[in-house]
Amino acid sequence: MATFRILLFSVLRQRMGEGTLCVEMPSPTTGAALLDQLTTDYPAFADYRGVVRIAVNHEYVSEDRVVGVEDEVALITPVSGG
């Protein structure tokens, strides 16, 4: 098992109460598996499961992307810049 640290911003950071969430999983895993584990560990996250997108090393990836514990993982809710 490894500890994935996942970065949060804006509404998700406010809702979860912190800027980084940790989940324990075997590494490597997939984006989808990480999101599922987050939903289990943090019930408040369930509301965002459908709209959140995963970024790995500063790029959007699809949920089937393989993610290792060495990657920088972030969750991106619908953006509102500009």
């Binding site: 911003f9 804006s10 950071r13 500063h58 959007y60 990836v61 991106i76 809710t77 810049g81 500009g82």
Partner: protein
């Protein structure tokens, strides 16, 4: 290419004159510059300020990526994307997008593409503070497109 492109995030007011100077070049005949500014009223709801959060390294990378797309699509001679972070008071600019092209139609089209894409794709979020004391993080109308 890099001398022709100025992409940056600022914690200070955006500078319009410097942005325009950067866009000026004898290679271009038209410059279109768009600025998003903090609007006070949305219907009957009064905003008093905005605050922007950003995932900085990714935001820069994502802007560069779709600036590349724009430069392949239009004959762009200069391109500028500046976004302000933190507090942005009423009437001040949160974003400036600028494009210089030989002919004006391309400048308009490319500028619009850049602001539209920024608003859907770049990990920057707006928190709106209202006159009634409430505040909320604004979520865009749809999630970023991870296939773009």
């Amino acid at each position: 290419m890099d001398d022709n492109r100025w992409i940056a995030l600022f914690d200070t007011p955006l500078e319009v004159a410097a942005s325009f100077s950067f866009l000026q070049t004898p290679d271009a005949g038209g410059i279109d510059m768009f600025a998003g500014t903090t609007r006070q009223w949305t219907g009957s709801r009064e905003t008093i300020r905005l605050e922007y959060d950003c995932y900085r390294p990714m935001a820069l990378k994502e802007i560069e990526r779709f600036a590349d797309v724009a430069c392949r699509r239009w004959p762009i001679k200069r391109l500028l994307v500046h976004h302000r972070l933190g507090v942005v008071p009423l009437a001040e600019a949160s974003v400036i997008i600028g494009v210089a092209t030989p002919h004006r139609s391309d400048a308009f089209d490319a500028c619009r593409f850049l602001i539209d894409t920024l608003k859907q794709q770049v990990p920057i979020w707006k928190r709106e503070f209202f006159a009634d004391g409430t505040e909320e993080w604004i979520e865009g109308p749809k999630p970023p497109d991870v296939t773009k």
